[in-house]
Point group: D2
Chain length 340, copies 4
């Protein structure tokens, strides 16, 4: 089978990882890399002498030897570049978040459908063994009914210029939630603060409200002295702690919960009992997520399939981010998540 | 000097700690203990044969040998018992939260002033070495400007019947914040969820908004599989991690932060730099907080002084809890904190 | 059934725990406490007004109302006091280590047999849920063949006057090993160092050698800046990490190991493969060990049974400590463990 | 200045790191790579198209375009290859341990001196910021007198064929000790065990004895269920915990220790008091050690200087390993460290 030719736009923080993974993935070869900044291009050439480079993204997009385009640039340029690439008949993989607005996401989805091209968003965590395991534990019913989802993603830096900490870090949590929770949120309440002049918010809190009594919450912070990547997922039967910084025990499953005691006669006795059993840290598949993701993208192209993190998955995250941004302006006032 | 005679109302979860500490504190003796539940009284007598017991709180309150009354009962009874005790001329120490409503707190403060009696609320954490150290680091300017206060206080149980997790656990964080932050919040946005029929909310999130760009947030949860007691405090010069579960290094001070780079010419270069230096875990005074608190209460009585955690401190916490409860009903809509 | 009357000799560091547990255990009552130091006796009386006190141990031993004697004094006095008590017809529980010499241990065992009295040594850890679980995992074959036992027990203080860190701390590890390992060591090699004038060794290392390829090692240290209580137990099928400082997950069972690959043709290929599976932290019984131990002692007295930690268990630990002391003098030269 | 041309022998586990670092270091270029295994050579060529490859080490050694040779092969071949390279007039950097015997190390040192070539051993940890900091804390007197050095280096795998865990892992600790301790050991006592047929020992314990009361101990294990890299260094004034797995706080300095109390009158009072102060985790330089090491090697070549980890440093580690191997055969009997 012929190899799929990949062009990568943007060789900044994340682009080199894209190039490396599509370089090493079976079934693809990186043909071309572009970056506006001339000084980034020799870096590509010294590491990958066979790859062509250009400062002009449009040159890469129009190149007839490029089958698929990876867009690894600031969010503000995602829509224009992705649209151009789809119109040029390319398959497209866009870094998260998919676009800067809900409307842009909708237009990209329509364009991809019209052109019958793969549109995928780089929600990397969906391709990790840990998130996959959490998904399965919920889907199989092992957790019981989901009660809450609580995530903390904080550390010092890297500040972004064009987006706030919410659009930068919360994307990860929102994409994970969208993938593993069986229900969709109906409203969002968010608050945040900015402490550096001329830079967007560096700390934000976001609550997702559901029709049922499920609640989800995300805390993101660029100004924290320590790095924390911890998610608690509570269920009626079991509970999960997902700590992405643990080298091997990323997922811990606790056989813990409460039991109800109907001793209505004694109003002073607690009606709630506690149940604690074993904790299990299942073995987690350790393949680099971006490698799994690259292979998935290539497979979707080859077989004409819809990716796991397709345009709709990207749109759903942007929908929540847009609503959260509104809620922040109103100091936490809940904003409904309209279905289009 | 004559010993101050202490009467303790309520011998449930926390009451025994009160009895033990006032039994051992120099300057006081526990004279009487009351509990509605007859079966609790023999426990007192077997441990403290010299202490008188009764089922009737009023008997204790009216006893002429009792100088000061500790109220260690469910929140709903705090106001009535404290009022009765103040009117009987006793000094009063009330378990947290001070009262169930802002109005009740106000009335107790007025009664204590009228009777010239000490009214103190049991905000225990204020009397720990760790909180004292955090307070001093902010007050001395070592942290610089405070940027945020973020606290997580979660574990499995104990469910309360008469109050939600907010009124049970968040009290600790709100009292600590009130003590160590140099500014007062102006509004609160809160969300929560309840998962057990007939029992109040078990998970809650609360954001405090300030006039400036300071932000404070509390996450409390009775249904978490692991116990976490961690507070992050960010400042312009340094940052603190306060982990109450660390056996000895409860406070860690990070010489970390950001520096601004005014290289306005290059829009692609980050304007924000990072500064990381040493981390210091100062030695923390390890005396049991309740012992320090007991001694402080006795000293305030002896010297006619206002306690550190006086009625106003108790009222301020109740004010925020009341507003948060309103905000929860409105799914996070911000509620202003009226000054009386 | 009549309660067993307990006399406790020594009210220093550990004695108060003995008094408290036998005070609260069903089936016993503490009748008398003795301590050479007059100033310790009022402490007993203020907490336990019904208990008689004396400075003379012999008075307690001879008292006709005392059925069993707990010896909670420095090691050097264990033998004399225990012998006297056995001769007076009392059952005896001695703090660890049982005696200062192997010969003394042997004589106590003989005296107890002659008098048909219970002789028990306070190897407290044997009565914890964690050690019990580790024992069961080995006994049931779940670990496979035992490969090694490695324990680290270090912290700052408490320095002892009459015994080295080996006789103070390593006792715990040796008693646990003796209980859970299915084979007995045949020799010991040990090294140590002393850094404080006039005080015995504060750091020691001890290797136990076996007939097979099992190896056991203990590291004890009174001068460590951090507290560590961690034991690794390697087996052919599974491995255990037992961390006594973990609040709830004290025992972790790793489904890890190696697999042999008989690819003899390729000398460059590794013959050893690695197997990693789930980790399980089983729920551990949390009763205070000393309570379980107290109840066990009372049961052995009532039913005339041999305790789990009988004289022989105490003797085996002293045998190893004596040999290790010799080895230390010879800078690690192995010393055989004679069977008597 | 002309670049120094580097030839790397061995492209297995560690060789690729050597190639990468000398490829990126200023002042050198990798000219040639050799490996006995033909299948390893295309890997080199795909990543570094400009590098020549060969199966024959001698071809690389004799190549006139090679100035310095890196030997990254199994220990058994170190001596022959290094000797050949020195005789061909090349500078040599040998992976640890330097040689398989003390005599070989001595001969290499002599050859290097005769040829006036740089002979350096790859004791990587000496070039880390953490070890550098520990060295400075001892050298500056901040720790006071060194009391003990205790290191644990355990994990599951990688089993080696030609050397035991002692020769594989303990090298790291011995090289660090040799660098940071101001005194030299005089004897060694070691024990070990092997659990896999046909493979050397997988667990070993090694005590170093000194003229003074300093003691050093190393525990290495290839069969541990968890990864531990922790060193405790006790001093009379302060103590260090060096945990190489900590992402940022690798070195913690504890202001802890003991104080002597000369209250000789009261034999029951402890003579030893405890002092605990702040803990400081200094910021550690984070450059990859191998990069620092490569630059140091190049500098020594350019300036004709003796490297920090020269032949003598390599010899000293081999001396201890050889003695430890003897001690293991005698089950821990101490073996003196002869000075040549």
């Amino acid at each position: 089978m012929a190899k799929i030719n990949i062009g990568v736009i943007g060789y900044g923080y994340w682009g080199p990882n894209m190039v490396r993974n599509f370089f090493e993935a079976p079934g693809s070869q990186v043909t071309m890399v572009s970056d506006l900044r001339a000084e980034r291009l020799p870096l590509v050439q010294s590491r990958y002498p066979t790859v062509r480079v250009t400062q002009k993204a449009s040159e890469l997009i129009e190149d007839s030897h490029v089958d698929a385009v990876i867009i690894s640039t600031p969010v503000s340029s995602h829509y224009e570049l992705a649209l151009q690439a789809l119109r040029a008949g390319k398959h497209v993989l866009v870094e998260k978040p998919l676009t800067a607005t809900l409307e842009q996401a909708q237009l990209l989805i329509e364009e991809a459908e019209r052109r019958k091209r793969v549109l995928m968003v780089d929600h990397t965590f969906i391709y990790t063994g840990a998130v996959c395991k959490a998904h399965d534990l919920i889907a199989s019913g092992e957790l019981g009914d989901v009660y809450y989802y609580d995530s903390v993603r904080v550390n010092l830096g890297l500040f972004q210029h064009d987006v706030s900490v919410l659009w930068d870090l919360a994307v990860h949590d929102l994409s994970i939630m969208d993938y593993i929770l069986p229900m969709k949120p109906v409203a969002v309440s968010a608050t945040s603060a900015a402490h550096v002049k001329g830079v967007p918010e560096d700390v934000a809190y976001l609550t997702l409200l559901f029709e049922s009594n499920v609640i989800a919450h995300v805390h993101v912070n660029w100004l924290a002295p320590v790095k924390i990547r911890r998610t608690l997922i509570g269920g009626s039967r079991k509970m999960i702690v997902y700590d992405d910084l643990e080298p091997s025990e990323k997922i811990k499953i606790y056989d813990k919960g409460i039991t109800l005691n109907n001793d209505a006669e004694n109003v002073y006795k607690l009606l709630v009992g506690y149940r604690t059993g074993d904790m299990v840290a299942p073995q987690i598949e350790g393949t680099e997520a971006l490698r799994t993701e690259a292979i998935h993208f290539l497979k979707c192209i080859a077989e004409g399939k819809q990716p796991l993190t397709d345009g709709q998955a990207g749109l759903q995250v942007v929908r929540i981010l847009e609503a959260a941004t509104l809620s922040i302006q109103e100091k936490g006032k809940p904003v409904e998540l309209k279905t289009l």
